[in-house]
């Protein structure tokens, strides 16, 4: 068993979210950025056998499916914090609940995706780290865990391809960037085994310290402002191709 300085089994927690599929009305799936976080945790476990990977989602009843998917990828156990239907919580509410839900479990490392496709806030990881009083790194593209030292070395993506290299004391929170790895698909053997794995269910209203408040309210959804002409070309595919050729000729580039 892989153990830290004090001899305890290292446990990782990955936060995953269920989000709507834009092209499919009422279709739901795992936020694709969270797949990288699950994969990274599984890779760390492969490097340090004995490490446990737990996965947590906060969402309505139906959101348990993303926990199942993560278990199918190979996670060891799941937690589903059941939130009210049609709530669409902001990052601060989700982070406060997540911090409350793990209150009694000392995770060594917590991983999240860089942002969710629906709310796009990218704040659950860094907010939760602060609620738990532990350090955080956002935009992680490389990890190297050092269990004996109780630290993790990470590289954070900066602008124009530069990387910020840091070493963090554990426990810590990492918001991992897309591209850090190639997420695996759920395997049949894991999917079959997932049925036997524990998924701990807890209602958000039963969490210690609940209820937690929203810190922001979405008043309206509005179509984004156009920053360019945005002229749609009509006709057949061939007509549209001819139109592009014409435009390129007019602009003298072809």
């Amino acid at each position: 068993m892989q153990s830290g300085l004090d001899g305890h089994v290292m446990t990782l927690l990955v936060l995953v979210k269920q989000v709507p599929i834009p092209e499919e009305p009422s279709g739901m799936e795992m936020n694709r950025f969270d797949e990288y976080a699950v994969e990274e945790a599984l890779r760390i476990r492969e490097l340090f056998p004995g490490v446990q990977v737990h996965v947590m989602t906060l969402g309505p009843e139906g959101a348990g499916k993303v926990v199942k998917r993560a278990l199918g990828m190979g996670a060891d156990a799941g937690i589903h914090v059941i939130t009210p239907e049609n709530e669409f919580p902001g990052s601060a509410l989700t982070a406060a609940r997540a911090a409350a839900a793990i209150n009694n479990h000392a995770y060594d490392l917590i991983l999240t995706g860089i942002l969710s496709q629906d709310r796009m806030e990218g704040q659950v990881g860094p907010l939760m780290a602060e609620y738990l009083g532990i350090p955080c790194a956002v935009g992680v593209v490389e990890t190297a865990l050092d269990p004996e030292d109780g630290s993790i070395r990470v590289e954070r993506e900066m602008e124009a391809g530069f990387r910020d290299c840091i070493s963090m004391r554990l426990p810590a929170v990492l918001a991992v960037q897309a591209g850090i790895n190639r997420p695996r698909y759920p395997s049949l053997s894991h999917v079959l085994a997932a049925g036997k794995k524990t998924v701990h269910l807890v209602r958000a209203s039963d969490l210690p310290g609940a209820p937690f408040a929203e810190t922001q309210h979405i008043l309206d959804l509005i179509p984004p402002e156009k920053t360019r002409a945005g002229v749609f070309v009509n006709g057949t595919c061939r007509d549209k191709a001819e139109e592009l050729l014409h435009v390129l000729q007019q602009r003298g580039v072809i």
Binding site: Q123, P135, G161, T215, P223, P224, E225, L245
Partner: protein, 348 residues
């Protein structure tokens, strides 16, 4: 009046505030119409006096230079602690931070330490009933949300490029700017930090023609396999002085090296024409093509975010469209050959 604080990002090498500070100033002036407080710029870092003095001279605003002993490079743990200490004395209503790799790393935690609210990646300020509301993208950029923060201070990360850089002098500060006030953070913050800096790694030098190309043909999330890139390469071969590029998912999948990536995290490009093929239009990608002369987007999804930021919008599968384009170019060439014209399609 509670101040509206702008956090300047210090280029520690140059000892200068990064230009993003002027975009934050524009955003601050819009907030000021409702919040009314004076605008103050805070410059945290090592030996900040010169940068603070230059900024005071240029902006006419009050500047706080926050010297952090031993601070070499960005450290979120240290920055959050010393800014909390500074702001507990200043009591700001709003704190504006650029939505960069640093801003999004420390802004949410700073808001928690101050007992406030954090909104990320805001692109507009809307005043209604003398209240400040903020616009930020949701649903993969297909929609914008109008958001009202509940609490104070409001920590905002501001999308780079969303606000025009302010002409200095358009802002009102305290009315009697004292210029620069210097503060020094607690001396053992860096040594006692739970985060240790190990340096900054430079990108691998990869050759790509993105910065020189007149036309960029770029592929994105719509690609299903690396072979799909060959269709784009064919378009590149038909357009003189053009180059292949890609958005993040193509690079993440390992189909092209990082040098081909267009966007804030890759290359910021300024071609005459940018062809976005099967690209949905993430914020960081859009920020990287802002300077393009003309943007053409091809996507099967009419609701894709890219169409709000394109000049010419084509709802088609990019593969079929690329093939149709290739045959249109070829038949155009054949026509000019048949008629004996030299034509302008032969690459000048």
């Amino acid at each position: 009046m509670k101040p509206i604080v702008i956090l300047a990002d210090l280029d520690q090498e140059q000892n200068l505030a990064r230009p993003g500070v002027r975009e934050l100033a524009t955003c601050a002036s819009l907030i000021q119409a409702a919040a009314h407080g004076p605008v103050v710029i805070v410059v945290p870092g090592r030996d900040t006096f010169r940068a603070a003095r230059d900024l005071a001279g240029a902006s006419g605003l009050d500047i706080v230079g926050l010297d952090i002993p031993g601070y070499e490079t960005y450290n979120s743990d240290v920055l959050k602690t010393c800014l909390r200490d500074l702001f507990s004395g200043m009591d700001p209503s709003h704190i504006l931070i650029s939505h960069t790799s640093q801003g999004r790393d420390y802004a949410p935690g700073l808001a928690v330490r101050l007992g406030g609210v954090s909104l990320s990646g805001i692109t507009r300020v809307v005043l209604t009933d003398n209240q400040c509301r903020f616009v930020r993208p949701v649903q993969s950029g297909r929609m914008d949300a109008l958001v009202a923060p509940e609490g104070s201070p409001v920590v905002l990360t501001v999308q780079p490029g969303a606000f025009a850089p302010a002409p200095w002098g358009a802002l009102s500060g305290t009315g009697h700017p004292v210029g620069v006030r210097m503060e020094t953070a607690c001396p053992d913050l860096v040594a006692s930090s739970r985060i240790r800096n190990l340096g900054v790694r430079s990108p691998a030098r990869e050759s790509s023609d993105l910065t020189r190309a007149r036309v960029i043909v770029a592929g994105g999330r719509g690609m299903e396999s690396p072979q799909d890139l060959d269709i784009l390469r064919e378009m590149v071969s038909l357009i003189p002085r053009s180059a292949l590029g890609a958005s993040r998912p193509v690079i993440d999948a390992g189909w092209l090296p990082h040098g081909f990536q267009v966007g804030i995290t890759g290359a910021v490009v300024t071609p005459d024409v940018y062809l976005a093929m099967g690209i949905s239009g993430s914020t960081q990608h859009l920020a990287g093509i802002k300077g393009a002369g003309f943007v053409v987007a091809v996507n099967t999804d009419p609701g894709a975010a890219i169409f709000n930021h394109a000049d010419l919008c084509i709802v088609e599968d990019f593969k079929e469209f690329a093939q149709a384009f290739a045959s249109a170019v070829r038949s155009g060439k054949n026509r000019s050959k048949d008629s004996g014209e030299t034509g302008d399609s032969d690459g000048q």
